[in-house]
Symmetry: C2
Subunit: 117 residues, 2 copies
DNA sequence: ACATTAGTTGAACACCTATTCAACAAAAAG
DNA sequence: CTTTTTGTTGAATAGGTGTTCAACTAATGT
């Protein structure tokens, strides 16, 4: 019993596992990747993002469009803002939100194309 | 006060909102979209998917590679299987998992390219 | 037959998350 | 100045999620 117990089983395909291991990224990268996709993993947020893909909108516009409270929209926009998926400009007391860059649209598009098959 | 209260505010840019509304998909589509992205929204699952992108692996391989129990891996693989993101073949008592199609790799790639900027 | 191993499963647990509510700041309008 | 409205925020609550644990099946080997 000299084997280091990485897991609860005798390892099977050692060569393959080591080959794959050398190609994997660090844990941090997967956390960042998951954090990104998690933002697309909520119906309300993808609706907000898809709406903003069409046109810049203020918080009230989004609330009216999606049937939500301003508070709910604002909370979600904060999450999207902190991850740099949306940007905003302030005009008087109205805050207009829009997509931060084309990457967001690309991710939405690839998702749409996947679910329609 | 004859206005229908879609939300807790007087609506602002009615024309824009209606224009955007006509381009949006049904709620079901956003739920499906979010369900898809949610599967990529967990560090363990994206590590599994990225490993399977390199080579097909059995449950023990994945457990050893990622430092997880077989149970934890199996639970995640079940979720990925039910959404048709991975497929499997059984050889004796060993179950080999691999990516279901190239779409999975495409989604991972676009995610990686987004976080590296 | 019996023991061992790969894999699955359901329940339990702790943790996270999305919406609601109430309170608040800031700008506009009266 | 006072009121109204957009927008943000923090606390609270309810629902969802990932891992662990124990029990189980199926296939292998002795």
């Amino acid at each position: 019993m000299e084997s280091i117990s990485f897991c609860d089983c005798d390892v099977i395909h050692e060569g393959t596992v080591e080959a794959v291991r050398s190609t994997l990224a660090g844990q941090d990268e997967y956390v960042r990747l998951a954090t990104l996709f998690k933002l697309f993993g909520d119906p309300t947020r993808v609706r907000i993002l898809h709406a903003l893909e069409q046109h810049e909108l203020c918080v009230c516009d989004l609330a009216a469009l999606l049937g939500l409270t301003k508070s709910a929209v604002s909370h979600q926009l904060k999450a999207l803002r902190l991850s740099n998926l949306v940007k905003f400009r302030k005009e008087a007391q109205v805050v207009f939100y829009s997509l931060a860059d084309d990457h967001v649209k690309d991710i939405l598009d690839i998702g749409f194309s996947h679910i329609s098959e």
